[in-house]
């Protein structure tokens, strides 16, 4: 499984890329592999607000659907509309296929997340 070094990770297999007060969020290589061929990504709208642990998107494969939870509080700044047209992008390159960008309200919430080394270990334990 591919893991990128400069990202943060959650127990639910989401990744975060922090750029100052903004974070891009997507799902990891492990998550896309577990879901199989992704057929649809349902995204929120710009300006929607979410609290930590709320579901902000749904990723569907043919026989499954998974809620994607937001690991921080935040308001949606951008959504990746490319995914609505071509959901297979998530399978092809999960780390390029960010789903939303949010405005970080409380950066201390990031402390709870794993770095790449910790996530790698987490995956080993999951196996």
């Amino acid at each position: 499984m591919k893991i990128l070094e400069d990202l943060l990770y959650t127990n639910d297999h989401e990744w975060l890329k922090v750029e100052e007060d903004k974070a891009y969020i997507g799902i990891t290589d492990y998550a896309q592999d577990a879901l199989g061929d992704i057929v649809y990504v349902e995204l929120p709208e710009v300006d929607d607000e979410f609290e930590m642990e709320e579901a902000f998107a749904v990723v569907e494969s043919v026989k499954a659907a998974a809620d994607i939870y937001i690991p921080v509080d935040g308001r949606v700044l951008e959504i990746n509309e490319d995914l609505e047209d071509d959901p297979s992008l998530v399978n092809e390159d999960p780390y390029e296929s960010w789903m939303i960008a949010v405005e970080l309200e409380d950066k201390s919430q990031l402390d709870e997340l794993m770095n790449s080394g910790e996530y790698e270990k987490f995956l080993e334990e999951e196996e």
Partner: protein, 484 residues
């Protein structure tokens, strides 16, 4: 014939027709006199133009690409694909039933009302309940109705903090979906190694927030919940009610009754247990029965009888309201009653006995070649966990698809979710020993193929009208109508 590959739209040719109406015998008119022009269609409807012969041939050809109970064995677990008796079809088509309007005066539909009333009583006797509503359109609709009744019961008592419904992890997907639709949160309880409800884990979730528990008995593994009395007492003692999902009632007719097990609300799937056809997905019917304490909440109207007539009673001030237009799937009710009369008290019990015998028999034939996760006596269905031989590339899906090549409908697969690679087999009572033997032999042969020639299984089916279909493509770029 099975190569036929046309859509009805592709047969259309200008000037053809498949109908003829009597000539209009009132004056021809200009539609603009009746309807403002802005509301009149200005383009012709884009419907096909075909002859009657073409319509008949087209759909006859399509039917040849289908598989029904009349084609062959259909051991689909939890779906009770028993034979659909032909006399039932004739009875529902009688002029006095098929051609009566729901708003006719009651004195002109006494036969229909009497049939509904007698069916209500028969279903009450079968389930051990006190009164039924025949309104729900299907099993899932029955569940929704039943949960609304439970909600109304608690609301009337001012007990509004009961917002949770307990559902075992082996339950049908409709159970949690119906609970959500009725505005409840679901709490899942685990099953034990033996496949039944774990009493300890049930105790842990019981509280004064519990509105009720939904249970199938026998459960989706085909096992009777032996502790049902204790489960009922536990749920009742915390103030909750018990809901019986009747999907598996074909195992228990005349042997035990949900009402006697302690259930307060029950639905039956008439299209499963009571032989009415599934019709390629409907129409079904899911009557709901209740104990006395819940009668006042039933949907209106309720069919009742006084000294000299049957009538529709709307006078139920605490009713949950209406869950459906009119009174239910009446045509399905006629078929059901015809079946109950045909089978009688003796035949219904015999049906359940043989359904259980057939299921255990098939299990006994397959246990050497397939993994039997729970080794016990089953009821009307049993669940296998894929091939016994481990580490093969062949999965349950492949086995199911390979069965198609041998002319059998596969069992339910990958359900219940708690068994890996599940194959859920429900033979029903309407199959002969010869059919069951042949089915078991084919499954044994497939088990052998899985070792010796796995490719033939993995690429199955080979001789069906179409082969495996690209579902990913269908879901990624949905084509939901003909664009030609």
């Amino acid at each position: 014939m099975r190569e036929y590959n046309k859509l009805i739209f592709e047969l259309s040719k200008e000037g053809r027709t498949a109908y003829k109406l009597p000539k209009m015998d009132v004056e021809e008119v200009d539609l603009k006199e009746f309807v403002p022009e802005e509301y009149l269609r200005d383009e012709e409807l884009d419907f096909p133009e075909v002859s009657e012969v073409e319509v008949i041939r087209h759909y006859t050809n399509l039917s040849n690409k289908n598989y029904g109970v009349d084609t062959g064995f259909y051991p689909l677990g939890s779906c009770t694909m028993k034979y659909n008796p032909k006399i039932n079809e004739n009875m529902a088509r009688l002029d006095g039933f098929a051609n009566i309007h729901p708003y006719q005066p009651e004195e002109t539909v006494q036969g229909a009302l009497k049939l509904m009333h007698e069916l209500d009583e028969a279903l009450c006797e079968l389930t051990g309940m006190d009164k039924m509503t025949l309104q729900p359109a299907a099993g899932a609709h029955g569940e929704l109705t039943g949960l609304m009744l439970i909600k109304a019961y608690h609301e009337k008592r001012g007990d509004t903090k009961r917002t949770k419904i307990i559902v075992p992890d082996s339950a049908h997907g409709t159970n949690p979906a119906s609970a959500a639709m009725a505005g409840f949160d679901t709490l899942e309880v685990k099953s034990t190694e033996e496949g039944t409800v774990d009493i300890e884990s049930l105790k842990n979730v019981l509280s004064d927030e519990i509105a009720g528990l939904m249970l199938t008995n026998p459960n989706t593994l085909g096992l009777f919940e032996k502790d049902i009395k204790e489960i009922a007492d536990l749920v009742h003692s915390c103030g909750g009610l018990l809901y019986y999902d009747g999907a598996n009632a074909n195992a228990i007719m005349g042997i035990t009754r949900p009402g006697d097990m302690g259930f307060d609300v029950v639905h039956l799937n008439l299209h499963k247990t009571l032989s009415t056809p599934h019709g390629g997905g409907g129409p079904g019917s899911g009557p709901v029965g209740v104990k006395k304490s819940l009668i006042e909440y039933l949907p209106v109207p309720v069919v009742e009888k006084d000294e000299n007539r049957y009538f529709l009673n709307y006078d139920y001030p605490n009713t949950i309201g209406k869950v459906k237009d009119f009174y239910g799937h009446f045509g399905v009710l006629v078929k059901t009653y015809s079946y109950i009369l045909t089978m009688g008290k003796d035949g219904l019990k015999k049906a359940s006995e043989i359904a259980v015998l057939n299921s255990n028999y098939v299990m006994s034939l397959l246990r050497d070649d397939y993994y039997l996760p729970i080794d016990t006596i089953y009821k009307h269905e049993f669940v296998l966990g894929g091939l016994k031989e481990e580490n093969l590339e062949v999965k349950t899906l492949d086995i199911a698809k390979r069965l198609l090549d041998f002319g059998f409908h596969p069992p339910t697969v990958y359900f219940p979710l708690i068994i890996n690679e599940a194959l859920m087999i429900e033979p029903t009572e309407t199959e002969s020993k010869e059919t069951l033997d042949k089915f078991a032999n084919v499954l044994k042969q497939i088990a052998k193929e899985a070792i010796e020639n796995p490719e033939i299984v993995k690429e199955a089916p080979h001789n069906t009208p179409v082969r495996r279909i690209d579902e990913t493509k269908a879901a990624r770029k949905p084509v939901l109508k003909y664009e030609g």
